[in-house]
Each structure stands twice: as C-alpha cells, then as structure tokens.
Symmetry: C2
Subunit: 197 residues, 2 copies
Amino acid sequence: MLLYDSPVSGNCYKVRQLFAHLGIEYERREVSVIDRSGRRELLGALNPALRVPTLVLGDGRSLGESDAIMFYFAEGSPYLPDDRFERAQVLQWLFFEQYSHEPYIAVARFWAIAGISPSDAEGEAKRRGGIAALRAMESHLAGHEFLVGERYTIADIALYAYTHVAPEGGFELEPYPAIRAWLHRVAAQPGHIAITD
Amino acid sequence: MLLYDSPVSGNCYKVRQLFAHLGIEYERREVSVIDRSGRRELLGALNPALRVPTLVLGDGRSLGESDAIMFYFAEGSPYLPDDRFERAQVLQWLFFEQYSHEPYIAVARFWAIAGISPSDAEGEAKRRGGIAALRAMESHLAGHEFLVGERYTIADIALYAYTHVAPEGGFELEPYPAIRAWLHRVAAQPGHIAITD
C-alpha cells in the first residue's frame, strides 16, 4: 500500500498511528502541504478532494479522508467498537473533529508553521472556534476516560492528532485538565507513535 | 425518538430524508439556527457540539452529527452498502461533504438567509471553496450514476442536501451538467422528500 503523506499533517498522523497499532506495512510518499501545485496531476485520479492522506491499496483502489481510512482498517479490530451505537458515537466524534475542531485548531497551527499572518478578524474567529472545541472535549472528558466506551478507539486517535499540538497554534491547554489527563492516557497506549515518527 | 431540528438546515434534512425512506417515526423540535442563545441549556447534556441535528433515542441515549446519525440508522438497510470498502467510500464522501463542501456552500446560503454580508475576502474564500467542491463532485459524477457503488446511498442523501440549494448561496449549477443530472436521479428516488417537508 502507498500513503500520500505529510509529516506536519495531523490527518496523516492519524492513519500512521492506526497502522502502527495494527502492524500494517506501507510505503509513504511525502506531499507538500505548503506548495499545492501539481496536486491534480498527483492525486486527481485517486481522491477528488486532492488532499492528503490519500491511500492506494495493494489492488490499486484508493481511499481519501483520514477518518474514512481509519474506519476501514479499524473495523473488526480493538480500535473500533463492535456495538452499533458505540460505532455511531465514534463517528460523532470523528465528524466533530473535522467540522468543529480541525478547521480552527489545525488551521491556526498551519498558519504558524507556514508563516501566514491572519487578519485580526480571522485570528479571532479561529481562536473562538478552537476554544469552543476544546471546551466541548473538556466537558465530555471530565466524566470519561476515553471519548467512547471507556476505551481507546480511533475517536481518541483522531482527536489526539491536533489537540496535542494545539499549543503550536496558540491554544494553551493549561485551562483543560481533563484534556491534559486524557492526552497522557492516549500517549501511554502500547504502540503509540509521535507525530514526527 | 426526538429530533432537535431546523427546517432550514440541510444537515437536519439529511436525517429527515433517511427516516422517511426507512419509515421511522419521530418527533421534531425546532431549534433556531439564527438565535443560538439557550443552546447549552437545551443541548448541553445531549451533544457536546451544541448543534442540530441532535437525536434522542427512545431509551434516552443521544447522538449528534447528521452523518453519524444517518450511518447508525442506515446500517443493514439498502442505503448503506454491506461491502466494507464501499462503506469506507460512503464515509469518504460524508467527510468530504462536512470538510470541503458544507463550510463553503451551506455557509454562503446561511449568510444569504440570515441577511449577513461577508467582507469581500470572506465572500471570495467561500466562492472559491464552493467551486472546488462542486468541481470535485462534477468530475466524479461525470463517470458515475451515484456517488458510491452505482446506487443511491446515504452519501447521495448527504451531498444532495446542500448541493440542490447551492444557488440560494450564489452557486449556480449551470456549469455542472453531471451534478444536475445526478440531482434529478436523487430527487426521483421513491420516498424522496423536499427540504421544506
């Protein structure tokens, strides 16, 4: 299998982390997230969104979207519950991450990495959205060891990816003790890898 | 079951459409998408994202995120493939919709409905993102009857929701013949309902 990958992308990290847990071997091909020229030529036939991660299976079929890739490989493994309602709760957190968390916390980090200075209004909108996402996580994690079913699943892998590097985008985690404790629990899982691995 | 619902929300419409197909009965409680005061009191214990749709099951458990709700009810029905890879492709389109389509096309429509005037830069960013999403759909649908597996699934329900009202946000569909033909195929499905139903 071939993973179109970026070492700074938390979305790509999610897939690498799950593959590490599952002992899945694959090749990595780095795609720049700064210089996006040539994406249509590279990914156009594989993923209409032209984003990384994009995965090409051994038989040539391809999948895009980090969470769809994780769901595909996690089915039947300990990282996705068998219970239908818990699977839906996992999906709830995966969609929360992509809609209410990543567009604020990951984008603020990307701006910092890429040296992009947002306008005051843009920066403030990111700040407000990111804080709302962190508060939603904090209120849930104050009463739970993990996001779903009191055990580590792909929901935790997905939310960990950009939450643990949130300070790189200016979101300090000091006000969120339940998040910080959960980050430690996630990082203590057997087979945990770093985003830089 | 109780659906916290909004008649202008395409995300809520997705759930109502699937429930209509499946003959599922439920109550609707309207939540304003303009006046968001009181959301924490209303939805705080049900959905950390404080968004609609939020569904309360008969046993009191709750689910948020339109696509997680659809996936839960579509499992085992004709609206979600049994094949594991096709299920992942459905999820790929659901995540595409929430990350690359809804934030542009639905938000531009919401601004028009709510009478919000974006700055030129904001308007242009929405326009560019929306066109990229429509182009991705057009290129895929030029070779396919439906988004996944050549049959109507929750991926089509999800993408139809805001695509068919895209002109309300200023996105004309005239340049996208494959999308227009697909919209007609979706609307011709037995049990199809309107967003206003």
